[in-house]
Each structure stands twice: as C-alpha cells, then as structure tokens.
C-alpha cells in the first residue's frame, strides 16, 4: 500500500506537484476530454492552496479508511485498489452525478471541466509523481504494509 505524507510546513508553494501530476495523467485527460485534453495542471488530484496567513498546503485525497465518497456512490463506481490502497473511479460505472464530490468533506474530488470525468488522486497507480518532483520534501511517498 502506498501512503503520501504531506508536510505543509515544508511546502514552498512552487506547485511542481500540480505540474508533475498533470504530466502523469496527460494520457487520461486526452482520452476523456478530447480536444480539451493534454496537460491540465490545476485539476484537483493535487492542489496547492494558500491559507489566509500565506502558508501553502498541498491538498490531495486522504484515501480515507471510511471514505464518504465511496459510501455516497449509488452506482458502485468507487472502489479501493487492493494494491495501492487508492480509491479509484471506475469510468464505466460512473454516471457523473457529482454526489461523491459533494460528499467529500475536503474538496479532493471534482467533476472535470469537460464534465466527462470525475477527477481524484489515484496515487499514480503506485508511484506518485507529485512526491517524486517535490523539491522540498513536503510531499513524500512511502510504501507501507497493509
């Protein structure tokens, strides 16, 4: 299982994670969004948010143990990958109703602009690109026993 450790204190707000994430998912974007596809930094798989006091916080899915998004889906489209531990969207089953995004208490899931896919962190199927490219160590990937 993969865990992402986030240390907001180390985040410099460079948003390399957002860029790395969009490169890692460019193929997915091109497939679902057609002409709108390609590199799309700024999708909510990982976002750097600023607090009122000027601190930066990388915000991404916690892959909650008792995930509200999974419980909210009436079509069985959200499932945890046994290998990575990430909650993944089954695009075939997903009806794009948007209830999961509404149910997530943290805003880590959203309907993509083209409205053709729900977007959330999938831990890059086991090798999180954001952690690999984070220059300060604010995002660190770690493999943990189940």
């Amino acid at each position: 299982m993969i865990r992402l450790h986030v240390s907001p204190k180390l985040c410099s707000g460079c948003r390399s994670c957002e860029m790395a994430c969009s490169y890692a998912h460019a193929e997915v974007e091109a497939r679902v969004a057609g002409g709108l596809g390609g590199l799309r930094p700024g999708l909510p798989r990982v976002r750097v948010a600023a607090t009122g006091t000027g601190a930066f916080v990388p915000i991404l899915c916690f892959q909650c143990d008792e995930a509200r998004c999974v419980g909210s889906c009436k079509y069985g489209a959200l499932e945890r990958s046994p290998r990575t531990g990430a909650i993944e969207v089954d695009e075939g089953r997903c009806t794009l109703c948007g209830v999961c995004a509404a149910a997530c208490p943290f805003g880590n899931m959203e309907r993509e602009l083209s409205r053709r896919a729900m977007v959330k962190c999938d831990l890059c199927k086991g090798e999180p690109a954001c952690a690999k490219f984070c220059p300060t160590g604010a995002l660190r990937g770690a493999s943990v026993p189940r």
Partner: protein
Amino acid sequence: MIELRLDGKLVLAAEGERLLDVARRVGLRIPTLCDHPAVEPEGACRLCVVEVRDRAEGPGRVVPSCLERVQPGLDVRTGSEDVKLVRRTVMRLLLQRAPDSAALRSLAEEIGGKSSGAVWVSEENAGGAGCVLCGVCTRLCAAGGHHAISIQGRGAESRVSGPGGEPPDACTGCGVCARACPTGHIQLTEIAGVRRIWGRRFEMIRCGGCGEATLPRELAELESRRLGVTLVELTHCPTCKRRSSAEKFGELPARRTREGLSESGPMKGVAR
C-alpha cells in the same frame, strides 16, 4: 476457469462471465447501446448479438452477448454472416425510431445497417434525437433510488416518461439519464443555475462560499438525508472546501531566506 472458443481461438474466462465482457477483454469490438456497467444487462438493443454453438452439429443460435454467460466448450462467433445480418436488421429498425441520432448513425456506418427511409417517430419521440427504448435511463434511475421514469404505454405507443406521461414528480434533476442516453435523446439544459429536464425545472443550490452552482436542490436534499450530511456542507464547492482544508491543516512555513529555509530542511541544498 472456463475454456471456450471465441472466433476460433481458445480463451479462458471466469465462471459466470458474460460473453460480451470476454470478447471485449480479448480486444474484439462488439457494438452495444443498452449495456451499462452500473446496471444489470437487459438485452434490449440486440446489437451485441453473437452466434453460439453448443453442439457439434446443427445451426448456431444468435443471442445477445450481454445476457449469455460462458459455458465450457462453447463455440462463439462474433462476426459470422448470421450475426452481421441480425445486426444490420436491428440497426435498420433502430434508425426508424431515432433517425437523427448522430451516435446511432455513426454506429450504423460501422455495422452496415441502413435506414430504410421509412421513419417511425411518434409525436412524443419528436424533439430529441430519438429514443430506441433501450432502458439505460430507466435502469440507472432505479439504481439511483429515484424510480422517476419508466417505459410507459404499450407497443408502438411505448415511451419513456414519468407516470402517466406526466413530468416525473420523483425526479431530482440528477441528469444521470441524459448523460447516459446512447442516442442523445434526453434533453438537459442548465442555464444560470436552473436545470431543466423531463419538463421540470430544478434550481441549483449555489456554494455558500463562492456562489458556484453545485447540485439541484431536490437531489441535494435527498442526499443530505441519505448521507446524514448538512445541506450547507454538501453544497459547498470543492474549491471552497479545499480552502477550508488548507486553513485546517496549514502551518506557517519556515521563514524563507536567500539561502533557502531557515530551518534545516531539504530546501537548503536546493535554493542556491
């Protein structure tokens, strides 16, 4: 595991697997309209037919592959002359109901079915691309727990609508039916925070933080009760929720200097 023959090749399948899924898994293209992974198959559109032979002799049976499950020793042909003939005929009939559907027309080009020219569009069917009664919308509506729309009437008068042909009271405006409709018949519009579908009007609840339209009020109220989440939290948009997350988890960063972070952190070696 079950061994069967698919277009002459031996393939392995799990018990209970549908022929459609096996064929797609090995890369064969089977056209479908009414299949949706989130609901039970119904065999309504009949485009996914394949020919199966379970005996050594005699003619094969042409069956919808979405309903047929694997059997040991089954001989399946996905592109035989009989299969092609059935698909073309089915397509001709489907085109009579939905002559203006772009999705159906491009599928017709692929499998060779031509419109006979005769068009059989009931008055209720006009106004959209044309409904082929595949039932994806009604099955998904039921799976979502709404049961708002169903196939009403008999025979040529059959059509999808609310009870008695009226706008459906139980509809929450979720729009799942319109997005899944394979012919593009179901009309959904969303303008200035108002969604219209099935002759009904749904006000979109706006995010308490930024005013972005989120969910239709009826859907949000239903989900709020079902999930035990307040309406205000449910209709806060993801961007605003991330902002509150940042406030919750954020700490002021270590002071940045020309040499990097003043605290000993990995940044020190990076920013020179």
